[in-house]
């Protein structure tokens, strides 16, 4: 009865391996969840400017910083911050009970891939504070320059509204801003990446759409309403 022996053996193998795998998964699960959480926290702290990008931090330090200063909340249709889960998460940097800055998740199509990142704004609701991308598959040397310090520091201090308070977003131009944009408009534009037109345009579009989604909240900040 060779086939009987095979069945018994197969069954035995399955039980042994299944038991081993379950054990490994259960024991390791908490570690894995924490890693994922810290990874996200790391990116948010970076875009909020809490951590120094040139320094490395331990997982515990990140967790501490995050717990101390960042609150994850959600924005509803009226632009109010609440704890009710919506598709508009927001990360508030609160120090001494005042809002210093906030970060929002951004994503959109690049050339080869979807770009994922975070964008942070000052508490005035109109000035960009930082941008970071944590996942993309763009061409090294061209589109992947969205990771470069020169490109990301481009955004700092740019305004998403014009002098009248109308939403304009921040545009990514072809080439350098100084070549194509008049001086009074330059606070709404950043330099594009040479040779990476599609990726630059992708960043332009994703900023427009994602900033628009949080516009109701930003408006309240600009009217100096109390949001938290």
């Amino acid at each position: 009865m060779a086939s009987n022996r095979s069945l018994v053996f197969a069954f035995g193998m399955c039980v042994v391996c299944g038991f081993g795998l379950t054990l490994a998964a259960t024991v390791l699960k908490p570690h894995q969840l924490r890693n994922q959480r810290v990874d996200q926290q790391r990116n948010i702290l970076k875009v909020l400017g809490v951590t120094d990008p040139n320094q490395s931090y331990s997982a515990d330090a990140i967790d501490d910083y995050y717990q101390q200063s960042v609150q994850k909340r959600y924005v509803n249709d009226q632009g109010q911050v609440s704890d009710q889960v919506s598709d508009r998460p927001i990360y508030l940097l609160v120090q001494n009970n005042t809002l210093r800055a906030y970060a929002i998740p951004i994503s959109g199509a690049g050339l080869w891939s979807t770009l994922y990142g975070y964008l942070s704004l000052e508490a005035d609701g109109e000035t960009l504070r930082g941008i970071t991308f944590y996942q993309h598959g763009e061409t090294p040397g061209l589109g992947a320059e969205i990771d470069a310090a020169w490109f990301q520091s481009n955004f700092v201090g740019k305004k998403i509204v014009d002098a009248n308070g109308t939403f304009t977003s921040v545009g990514v131009v072809r080439g350098a801003v100084v070549d194509s944009i008049s001086p009074d408009q330059r606070m709404h534009y950043v330099d594009g990446i040479s040779g990476a037109t599609v990726t630059s345009r992708g960043v332009d579009t994703l900023l427009k759409t994602d900033l628009q989604r949080y516009e109701a909240f930003a408006k309240r900040l600009r009217r100096k309403e109390r949001v938290i």
Partner: protein, 212 residues
């Protein structure tokens, strides 16, 4: 003592895959992962560790079970053992080396399909005793490792100017107009580097044969 080690069968089994029977550059196995994970030295090293551990254990386990595994379900049993080991390795990486496991993404899981592992199980472990099989697994893992680590070092140095994430290209070189080689970041670069290594190795081996 050294002479006794050198003349032992285990020694021969262990060292052959490091040079003349190298799984990657001579037998051209396991190429897929060599292309995918060698952008950085760190990912290459972690991959090699995971691979070597899985290979050594799978060889050992399968070899000790070789007399009781029914022949008609041989392949599926090999797969169960290998798959379980790979999943455990993957889970451990996720728990303890999160950054690297994020970069390795699916490729740890794909160790299951790495031809070297099934190949060694079929060709060696099922026909030899556990002692030799473990040495064979270790040797093949490291033979795979040598190639991956060299390719990873070349690609990271060329593509990013760093090694193990630490910048080693002096700033002065960049000031002189040097830029990182974008090609090195693409998978085809690994193909070219492995090809050149295979060329070099075969030339050396054939010279050795002529010499002896």
């Amino acid at each position: 003592m050294w002479r006794r080690i050198k003349s032992s069968q285990a020694f021969a089994v262990f060292t052959a895959p490091l040079s003349i029977k190298n799984p990657v550059s001579v037998l051209v196995l396991g190429i897929c992962s060599s292309l995918a994970v060698t952008i950085q030295l760190k990912t290459a090293v972690v991959m090699v560790l995971a691979m070597t551990v899985v290979l050594t254990f799978s060889n050992g386990i399968l070899s000790s079970l070789r007399k009781i595994i029914p022949k008609n379900i041989r392949i599926i049993v090999e797969l169960i053992v290998i798959a379980s080991l790979v999943i455990v390795a993957d889970q451990c990486l996720k728990a303890f080396m999160f950054d690297v496991s994020k970069q390795l993404s699916v490729f740890v899981g794909l160790i299951i399909t790495n031809c070297i592992i099934m190949g060694r199980a079929e060709a060696f472990a099922l026909a030899n005793n556990p002692w030799l099989s473990v040495w064979d697994g270790l040797g093949n893992g490291l033979g795979y490792g040598i190639i991956l680590i060299v390719v990873g070092a070349i690609r990271e140095l060329g593509g990013a100017g760093t090694l193990w994430g630490i910048s080693v290209m002096p700033e002065a070189v960049y000031d002189m107009g040097y830029v990182n080689m974008g090609l090195m970041v693409y998978a085809p670069a690994a193909f070219i580097v492995i090809g050149l290594m295979a060329w070099l190795q075969r030339t050396i081996i054939s010279d050795m044969r002529k010499g002896s």
